[in-house]
């Protein structure tokens, strides 16, 4: 079994493409998304001023606010920029002043408040109550903090199903499974060797992704590393089982690819990898929560963000383990060895 697992691992690391998709891709994804959604505070809001009486004075007033960048734009440009979101709001001089903006855009709402505040103060409005800002940054509240555990879960799913599924079907297609059957090898050893080799790569995957998140974005693991390790091992076991199940009958790579997508795509979308699954209708939530990736993502987030202990994760851990055990058992039962 050890030799089988070793062979599996050699097969894997000698396939540079596979190595990239398992290790490189999630990191690139985390990097890109982390950059796109980085929290740089409220940031500066772009606003435009339409031509009219006192337009440049108006623009200068607005521009003096640290949170606004304002410029006088001709009406064509202004319309275009407003539509494409390059400016959040357009001020049209006159009496009354007109604020033109799209009220469904969060940025525009912020710009409306800020612009009005700056202009009213400039015209002599005084504040009745003294206020002081106290900005806090809660650890774990950034998008990247949400994303890294999700990517970790997704990666465990992908490498489990791809890694196991493809190589099983390939061995079957190449008649290698049949050849192994002609030796005294135990069948369970063959299946277990996949899990063993998955565990080794799992370690590397987790270290790579968590290390990357920590180094570049300061995503800390607030729970214990031991809990994280146990969770990822359970996750890898569950997904390797699922991968074996997917590959248990398929005869061709094309056939198994379709099945893999059928299994993985719903989970990518539903299981809260990139956005919280609470956005789905309430009626769907119980189903979504029963998916192994949802359960794993929830537990990973609980450990990494909230520092939850293993024992507090009973339900999701049970779901992950049940998926793994059931699919492994079914796979063993219906596996096509020839």
């Amino acid at each position: 079994m050890f030799q089988l697992a070793l062979a599996r691992m050699r097969e894997f690391y000698r396939e540079p493409e596979a190595v990239f998709w398992v290790f490189g891709f999630p990191i690139v994804l985390a990097f890109a998304l982390g950059l796109a959604f980085r929290n740089t505070g409220p940031g500066e809001l772009q606003v435009g001023v339409a031509p009219g009486a006192g337009d440049s004075a108006l623009a200068a007033t607005l521009d003096s606010s640290p949170r606004l960048v304002a410029a006088v734009l001709d009406s064509g440009t202004a319309r275009l920029r407003l539509r494409t979101g390059r400016i959040a709001l357009l001020v049209v001089p006159g009496d009354p002043l007109v604020y033109r903006y799209d009220s469904t855009r969060t940025e525009s709402g912020l710009a409306r408040l800020e612009v009005d505040d700056v202009l009213q103060r400039a015209r002599g409005r005084s504040d009745r109550v003294a206020v002081r800002d106290d900005r806090v940054v809660a650890p774990g509240s950034r998008y990247i903090d949400f994303l890294i555990p999700g990517l970790l879960g997704m990666n465990l799913l992908g490498s489990g199903i791809w890694g196991v599924g493809f190589s099983v079907v390939q061995a079957r297609q190449r008649k290698l499974l049949k050849r192994y059957m002609a030796t005294p090898m135990r069948r369970s050893h063959y299946l277990l060797s996949f899990i063993l080799s998955r565990l080794v790569f799992l370690l590397l995957e987790v270290v790579a992704l968590v290390g990357f998140g920590w180094l570049l974005f300061g995503v800390a693991v607030r729970g214990s590393f031991a809990t994280l390790a146990v969770l990822t091992i359970l996750g890898a076991f569950a997904f390797a089982g699922l991968g074996l199940l997917v590959a248990s009958r398929a005869k061709t790579i094309e056939g198994v690819s379709g099945l893999m997508n059928l299994v993985m795509l719903p989970m990518w979308i539903l299981s809260g990898t990139f956005f919280s699954y609470s956005r789905f209708p309430d009626a769907m939530i119980p189903f979504v929560k029963a998916l192994p990736l949802t359960a794993l993502n929830d537990s990973l987030r609980a450990v990494m963000i909230d520092g939850a202990g293993f024992l507090s994760l009973g339900a999701p851990v049970a779901i992950v383990m049940a998926w793994g055990a059931v699919s492994f058992a079914i796979a063993l039962k219906i596996f096509r060895w020839r």
Binding site: Q3, A7, R338
Partner: protein
């Protein structure tokens, strides 16, 4: 099969050779009947594994893992058996020492096949199953494999092989079963089987203007001719319109044939002779060619 024998299953593609050998290997369950290997019937579980310890099996079209090296592949197969040759020993058996570090994907067809046989030999088997071990190989690689099989037998091993090369069966096998459409149609030593033709030589010829209808009878009347076949394909390349004669005494029949043709004013477009082979036995039994299927 007695121990130490080399037994050949010979037949065209689709004759049922692979199915037969896989039933014997315990990989395909038989529709009916019982199989015993080394005096043991196939059983699931530990008994089956114990039996597998004693067998060496090469399957017809296993593609070994491309990314592993020769040594790694053999180490893997070795790990399945309780008792086995070392990698170096088995590499020496199949003369692949130079390729020990090469990945499987870089090997030639003959080398891959020798590696496949090495995977079968690594378990120090008592009985070696080879399913078309030389199909698709060049003559040199084929002779190398024959040599490997001979050495295995010299060390006391028993071999069951399938082939559709009659030459291979004649050279390697003590006994041959000729198969067609899933049935054994002849069984014996290659010499015995050829002897059933009643003659040792085959003359094949073709005429430039086709064969007249009454010629066959005239040919049968020639001395020493035991059979006349009109081969749609004369095997030796006679082409349509060719005839094949099985003859006991080539040196008497051939001049008589030439005289006959000359008398009737027929012109030869082709004439070949050869010693009768298992191929001729197969043609005599089925009316079809063995090779060109």
């Amino acid at each position: 099969m007695p121990a130490g024998e080399c037994f050949g299953l010979l037949g065209p593609n689709g004759a049922g050779k692979t199915t037969t050998i896989e039933i014997l290997e315990g990989l395909t369950p038989p529709d009916s009947g019982a199989v015993e290997i080394l005096g043991t019937p196939w059983r699931d579980g530990a008994a089956g594994r114990a039996l597998r310890e004693r067998l060496g099996i090469q399957l017809q079209d296993t593609q070994l893992t491309d990314k592993l090296t020769v040594t790694e592949t053999l180490t893997l197969f070795r790990s399945f058996y309780r008792q086995s040759h070392t990698v170096d020993e088995v590499l020496a058996l199949v003369e692949l020492e130079e390729k020990r570090r090469a990945r499987v994907v870089t090997l030639s067809g003959g080398q891959k096949q020798r590696l496949a046989v090495a995977c079968a030999l690594v378990s120090k088997p008592e009985l070696l199953f080879l399913d078309e071990p030389t199909t698709g190989l060049d003559p040199h690689s084929r002779r190398q494999l024959w040599e490997i099989i001979r050495r295995f037998r010299a060390a006391g091993g028993t071999v069951l092989l399938t082939t559709h090369y009659m030459e291979e069966a004649e050279r390697l096998c003590d006994r041959v079963a000729i198969m067609d459409h899933g049935k054994v149609i002849a069984l014996g030593t290659p010499r015995e089987l050829i002897a059933t033709l009643g003659a040792e030589h085959v003359i094949e010829f073709a005429l430039s203007d086709g064969v007249p209808a009454d010629l066959a009878d005239a040919l049968r009347a020639l001395g020493g001719v035991t059979a006349v076949r009109s081969g749609a394909d004369g095997g030796g390349g006679g082409g349509p319109g060719g005839l094949a004669l099985t003859v006991t005494e080539l040196h008497r029949t051939l001049p008589a044939l030439l005289t006959l043709l000359q008398q009737r004013g027929l012109e030869l477009s082709l004439l070949t002779t050869h010693h009768a082979t298992l191929d001729d036995v197969f043609v005599a039994l089925t009316g079809r060619q063995l090779r060109d299927t």
